[in-house]
């Protein structure tokens, strides 16, 4: 390698050396060949048809991809909005449904049973008071909505049965305080 003197080495910078690379240029013959080859390839590109799947993909990739992305985003947002509502009301819905199925029939049955109880039937042994249970009066007087049900109801018909007096209800029913027997 031809060594340069220190004086001249100091004058040359990296930028100067890199600028020399601008002069590495092809000659005219190269560009002639380049143009011919490029024109041929461009003609082939114009004539050549893409495979069917490429055409389909190209046709769909523009708007279809955009609309698909929007649809997926909308679906995702919808899932995020609706799902917490399901999770939050899951237990409540179950209780309401269970309650609703038990409300109508038992309460009406109790009312009918109460109306049939008269003093003659009890042979004058009644030493307790019967509170009539009526869905109409209860719901009219009380400031609440009837949203409960009764699983069972037993009446004491004699003093021996006092201990068996039970107004059986589910725990959820207890808070409503509609049915009670006062002795």
């Amino acid at each position: 390698m031809p060594k340069l003197t220190k004086e001249h080495q100091e004058e040359v910078k990296v930028e100067d050396l890199l600028r020399l690379k601008r002069m590495e240029r092809p000659d005219d013959a190269f560009w002639g060949k380049f143009d011919r080859e490029l024109h041929q390839r461009m003609l082939q590109t114009l004539v050549k048809k893409d495979p069917l799947y490429v055409q389909v993909f190209r046709a769909l990739s523009g708007r279809f991809a955009q609309s698909s992305a929007v649809a997926c985003a909308a679906l995702f947002i919808a899932m995020m909005v609706v799902r917490p509502a399901f999770v939050g009301t899951g237990v409540t819905d179950f209780n309401v449904a269970e309650t609703e199925t038990t409300v109508s029939a038992p309460v009406l049955a109790v009312e009918m049973a109460m109306s049939d109880l008269d003093e003659a039937a009890l042979n004058g042994q009644r030493d307790y008071q019967i509170d009539r249970i009526s869905t109409e009066t209860d719901t009219a007087d009380a400031a609440f909505t009837r949203d409960f049900g009764m699983d069972g109801f037993e009446l004491a018909l004699g003093s021996a049965d006092y201990s068996a007096d039970v107004a059986a209800s589910r725990p959820a029913f207890g808070s409503t305080s509609v049915a009670s027997l006062v002795y």
Binding site: V12, R19, L20, E24, D27, L38
Partner: protein, 210 residues
């Protein structure tokens, strides 16, 4: 831009010229988009040497550079219908060429076939070269070959990202902002890469720069 405005003195003449070039290119692009396929040749003639130069300096192989430059123009031709003019055609074309070259070089991996372009005669008469060979005129030819080899070797030692930035700035003469747009990075990143790349090159070429 009309003749009157082009002769008007401006604070930013380079930027004005750039805008003008962009408008001219956009007009040609619109011709091609409207079906005048032959108009694309104007763009090829205008940018082929710049694109080739970038690709050649990235690959250090004239045959690969030729193929990749053609690929870049064909890709641009195929996609020109989707070009909306948001960036300049020149930036867009550079980006296509650089991305294709990077993909090619990553695939090529360690296999390196060097085939240099002939250095133009004007190198030997350049001021820089005169300084390099001031003391030894008889070894001029040997020094040209050796310098060419060393420079290409040094560039190939840089990572692709650093090589791209240093080529675009130091050899192609692009501004930092233009390089940032082409490489889709910030101007700060471009400056940082450039600084690092030059520092590396100084180490590789210390025999020439002392």
């Amino acid at each position: 831009m009309d003749a009157t405005s082009s002769t008007t003195k401006s604070i930013f003449p380079a930027q004005e010229a750039q805008v003008s070039q962009r408008d001219l290119d956009w007009a040609v692009v619109q011709k091609v988009q409207s079906g005048n396929v032959g108009a694309f040749d104007q763009l090829v003639q205008k940018y082929r040497e710049q694109i080739f130069s970038v690709v050649y300096n990235m690959t250090s192989n004239r045959e690969d550079a030729s193929d990749l430059t053609q690929d870049a123009f064909i890709k641009a031709f195929q996609a020109i219908g989707r070009f909306q003019g948001k960036s300049s055609f020149f930036t867009w074309l550079y980006r296509i060429a650089i991305n294709s070259t990077m993909t090619f070089l990553k695939k090529r991996n360690r296999r390196r076939f060097i085939s240099y372009e002939n250095i133009n005669e004007e190198v030997s008469s350049s001021e820089i070269f005169e300084r390099l060979t001031a003391k030894n005129q008889s070894e001029k030819g040997a020094l040209i070959s050796e310098l060419q080899e060393k420079l290409n070797d040094a560039l190939q030692k840089l990572s692709l990202k650093h090589r791209t930035v240093v080529i675009l700035h130091e050899i192609e003469g692009l501004e930092h902002a233009e390089i940032a747009e082409i490489t889709k990075t910030s101007v700060g990143t471009v400056r940082s890469r450039l600084h690092y790349a030059k520092h590396q090159l100084q180490a590789y070429l210390k025999d020439y720069i002392g």
